[in-house]
Amino acid sequence: LSLGCAALLAPEKMPFKRYVEIGRVALINYGPEFGKLVVITDVIDQNRALVDFPEQERRVVNFKRLALTDFKVDIKRHAPKKDLKKALAEADVLAKFKASSWGQKLAKQVAKSEMTDFDRFKAAVAKAKKSRAVRKVFNNLKKSAK
């Protein structure tokens, strides 16, 4: 089915960086499974993928619910759980995702939502202390600039 336009549609020429492909790691961003990382193990049609992850059932998810990440593991189409686990461990996807800016942002959101009132008090005190220190230096600079 290789037509002339196939060369024009090559990934190198496209502005897109993240592709739907077998092994692509994605985050579910809507629905009851919000926040779960999954791996695309097969593409059913243009709207749905078969998705899998260790400790999760293999299931169908619509692409509208998936946010593709930068990470991809090397698995065959419809890989068994054993191979999936091995590939994920080899690529160390979970750790890399947590270290990425996206993962860090998510972790911060989780930490903030789990804050107690005492934590919020401590944060407010620390913020006030920091801004006091900054203002002190700023005022000194302002005075010496006059």
Binding site: L1, P11, M14, P15, F16, K17, R18, Y19, V20, E21, I22, N29, Y30, F34, D42, V43, I44, D45, Q46, L50, E57, R58, R59, V60, F63, K64, L66, L68, K76, R77, H78
Partner: protein, 182 residues
């Protein structure tokens, strides 16, 4: 089963025969695979079709069993071929349609949706002649064949920006949605 989903049409196996008579103590037993919303409608459909094929009707027949048929491998993407006979505004036609799905129930649901949207045919006017799990090399439609690629790769070109829960929806937004995926 989590995987099966919520389908309107279910597949039933209905087995029935003519009532035994003095002339024929052991009538031939017929089995039909029928698509219906529930087992009551499945039995009704069974008699409807069997009446057209054999000299037996509900009044002089008996249903031996009705069983729902479930998907064997609901986590495997398959190609389904559906042969359909439908009544349009001007006549009766046959069609062959192909669908990529994970369950046969899902593929049949897609068929009913597509027939309604593309041809304005309501479910009552559709008869499913045959359904089959079609081998990859026997698929006829380019739309199904394009997914028969071990190294399938395509971008999602349009980012869907929506709150993660309906309760987070707001009437007004500070910024226009950013739909870029790159």
């Amino acid at each position: 089963m989590v995987m099966q989903g919520n389908f309107k049409f279910h597949q039933y196996q209905v087995v029935g025969r003519h009532l035994p008579t003095a002339a024929d103590a052991n009538p031939t037993v017929y089995r039909m695979k029928v698509w219906a919303e529930d087992d009551v409608k499945a039995k009704s459909k069974f008699w409807y079709f069997l009446r057209k094929l054999r000299r037996v009707k509900k009044a002089n027949g008996q249903i031996i069993s009705v069983n729902e048929i479930f998907e064997r491998k609901p986590t495997l993407a398959k190609n389904y071929g559906v042969w359909v006979r439908y009544q349009s505004r001007t006549g009766v036609h046959n069609m062959y349609k192909e669908y990529r799905d994970v369950t046969l129930n899902g593929a049949v649901a897609q068929m009913y949706q597509e027939m309604a949207s593309r041809h304005r045919v309501r479910p009552a006017s559709i008869q499913i002649i045959k359904t089959a799990n079609v081998e990859y090399h026997s698929c006829k439609r380019a739309n199904t064949k394009q997914f028969h690629n071990e190294k399938i790769q395509f971008p999602i070109t349009h980012k869907l920006s929506r709150p993660s829960k309906p309760e987070f929806r707001t009437l007004f937004k500070a910024n226009r949605p950013n739909v870029a995926m790159f």
